[in-house]
């Protein structure tokens, strides 16, 4: 009896995880094969626009999965996830710039920049996390929203550069006394310009895998259970000796660090990046992915992020609809929400695809 349960139980949690790895690896492999075939045969299998979406899609998948950790697993609404992405993007860009001479090998430089981005994201996570611990529900949502705005506002007036005297950082252009021959890395509202693009689809793929390892393994561990316990019932969680502060912060910081890494990858995929890109709407976009994919469902986040990020771009192909692209997007969004929450539809789906028993999964 025990043996059987044991085997079944362990395989269930990991089966769901492995399917996720499988989906990601298969998608990566498929696209790589298509790209190779395309090159060999000279036919268009993956259009330019789709190719250009590969890296950002990876970033948004990581964003969605990491936000799911806060919203789905910890159960706290965050409206400022893009703030962490912003921190990661700009710190990553600065890091890659500073490392340019030291480490000529681009992939390594990219990796280090992403680590720096993650570190900055994590620091942001701590800064937001601490007030968050005292607040609940929508009050917490407001703090995350406020944080996103503050980060945006600060980076918007931030000037960073290097010259032979060293590293300069200032909060306005007047105080930014960079020498004539110095290079400005971040120029206030102009953002970071002239970024050397280091990002690659492979890096995005690896980052997704790392994110999956971190999030999935976390969820299926002692710490993850504590986090979910806080979500389901804080008072009960405290009553069994769970340190609320520690685990809320753990979830927040992990999620922020992953967003920071995604931000660094994103920032290093374009030659210029501005802080206004990571505004409230960007945070909302990621939240849409998470909710649409299903709270707590990692696979859902991956699929929803991939589809929804690409959808508006795909709509460009369809002549007349293209003009009403964003309108169509809005309608699709509403209809999908209505459909996925429709009881009759759910029952129908339930009858067609019988659910596994004891639906206590967090795949």
């Amino acid at each position: 009896m025990e043996k059987r349960l044991n085997g079944k139980r362990l395989s269930k949690a990991s089966r769901s995880g492995f399917i996720n790895y499988g989906i990601v690896i298969a998608a990566f492999a498929l696209i790589q094969i298509l790209l190779v075939v395309q090159k060999l045969l000279g036919v268009t299998l993956v259009s330019n626009s789709l190719q250009s979406l590969l890296v950002p899609t990876c970033c948004y998948i990581v964003m969605a999965v990491s936000l799911n950790l806060t919203v789905g697993i910890l159960g706290e609404l965050s409206l400022g996830h893009a703030g962490f992405m912003s921190l990661g993007a700009f710190s990553g860009i600065v890091a890659s710039f500073l490392l340019a001479d030291v480490i000529p090998f681009a992939p390594l430089r990219l990796a280090l920049s992403m680590i720096v981005g993650a570190a900055f994201g994590a620091v942001g996570g701590v800064i937001v996390g601490v007030p968050v611990l005292r607040l609940q529900g929508d009050y917490l949502a407001i703090v995350t929203l406020a944080f996103g705005q503050i980060i945006k506002n600060i980076i918007m007036v931030l000037y960073v550069g290097v010259d032979e005297k060293g590293f300069h950082i200032a909060a306005s252009s007047e105080r930014f006394n960079l020498a004539e021959d110095g290079t400005a890395i971040i120029k206030g509202p102009m953002g970071a310009v002239g970024v050397t693009k280091l990002a690659s689809f492979t890096a995005g793929f690896v980052l997704i895998l790392i994110t999956l390892v971190v999030v999935q393994n976390l969820v299926n561990s002692r710490s993850g259970r504590a986090i979910m316990a806080l979500r389901d019932n804080r008072i009960a969680a405290e009553s069994v000796g769970i340190n609320t502060t520690k685990y809320k912060l753990m979830a927040f910081v992990t999620s922020a660090a992953l967003a920071g890494a995604a931000g660094a990858l994103f920032g290093l995929n374009y030659s210029s990046t501005v802080a206004s890109k990571f505004d409230f709407n960007a945070s909302i976009l990621v939240l849409v992915f998470v909710v649409l994919g299903g709270l707590g469902s990692i696979r859902g986040s991956i699929i929803a992020a991939a589809l929804l990020y690409v959808l508006p771009e795909l709509l460009r192909q369809f002549g007349d609809i293209a003009d009403y692209r964003m309108l169509v997007y809005a309608i699709v969004l509403i209809l999908v929400m209505l459909a996925t929450n429709n009881d009759q539809l759910k029952a129908l789906v339930g009858r067609i695809i019988p659910k596994r028993k004891g639906a206590a999964s967090h795949g």
């Binding site: 009881d343 759910k346 009858r351």
Partner: protein, 233 residues
């Protein structure tokens, strides 16, 4: 007064009520007993329109209820004191009671309030307290009081004695008896089968969504199987 005919209720894919039929005549106290999860609350919720049966029919006061929304059913004179109290936690005690008389004309509110306060003096003491901070038992009294505010023709009580001090359990059953005497029809769901059957005219025994036995209160009290399963005999 109430006629339930072959209803089947589902929660998603879970088949909770499997073809149950029973009836409650005017002036009767009828009790449903059964183990945890047998489906007692589900039946009450279906009768009052919060849940819907896939098949079968429910008649109240001679009129079929099929698909009538809960608030319309309540207007016709049914009151349901639901399981878990479900009082309005952010409202005061008195506001909760007033909500109970939502369908009633304004003039009936004050006399009804007085009546409820007579029955539960504790509520009168706490009339301005936010209901959410009441103790468990106080909340149960409030729920019951709220149900009485509309002077219903059919009162459905879902485990009214749960979590109450023995002295209050007696009171509750006294109230049930008194209501019975005054001619209120009551459909009672109870864990405390002993007491429930002793006040009831008739009872039904429910097991995993099916009615397995029926009879007068006294008959069921003597029924060996019932004794064993529900009376701790």
């Amino acid at each position: 007064m109430l006629k339930v005919n072959d209803i089947n209720v589902y929660y998603g894919a879970i088949h909770a009520i499997k073809g149950v039929s029973f009836e409650v005549n005017a002036g009767e106290v009828v009790t449903l007993i059964g183990a945890n999860g047998a489906g007692k609350s589900t039946i009450l919720n279906t009768v009052c329109g919060l849940l819907h049966s896939r098949t079968g029919s429910i008649e109240f006061l001679g009129k079929p209820l099929g698909g009538t929304p809960a608030h319309k059913i309540v207007e016709q004179g049914m009151a349901h004191v639901p399981e878990g109290r479900r009082i309005f936690l952010q409202m005061t005690v008195e506001e909760n009671l007033e909500m109970g008389a939502y369908t009633q004309p304004r003039s009936t509110i004050d006399p009804n309030l007085e009546r409820v306060y007579d029955q539960f003096p504790r509520l009168k003491e706490r009339r301005k307290q936010i209901a959410g901070t009441l103790s468990g038992g106080e909340q149960q009294m409030l729920a019951m009081g709220r149900g009485l505010m509309s002077s219903p023709k059919l009162l459905m009580l879902d485990e009214p004695s749960m979590g109450l001090a023995p002295i209050l359990v007696e009171q509750i059953f006294d109230i049930i008896r008194r209501l019975h005497e005054k001619g209120t029809t009551i459909l009672l769901v109870e864990q405390n089968a002993q007491m429930a059957l002793s006040v009831a005219d008739r009872g039904y025994v429910l097991e995993t969504g099916k009615i397995v036995a029926t009879g007068t209160g006294q008959e069921l009290l003597r029924n060996a199987a019932v004794k064993k399963a529900y009376l701790g005999g």
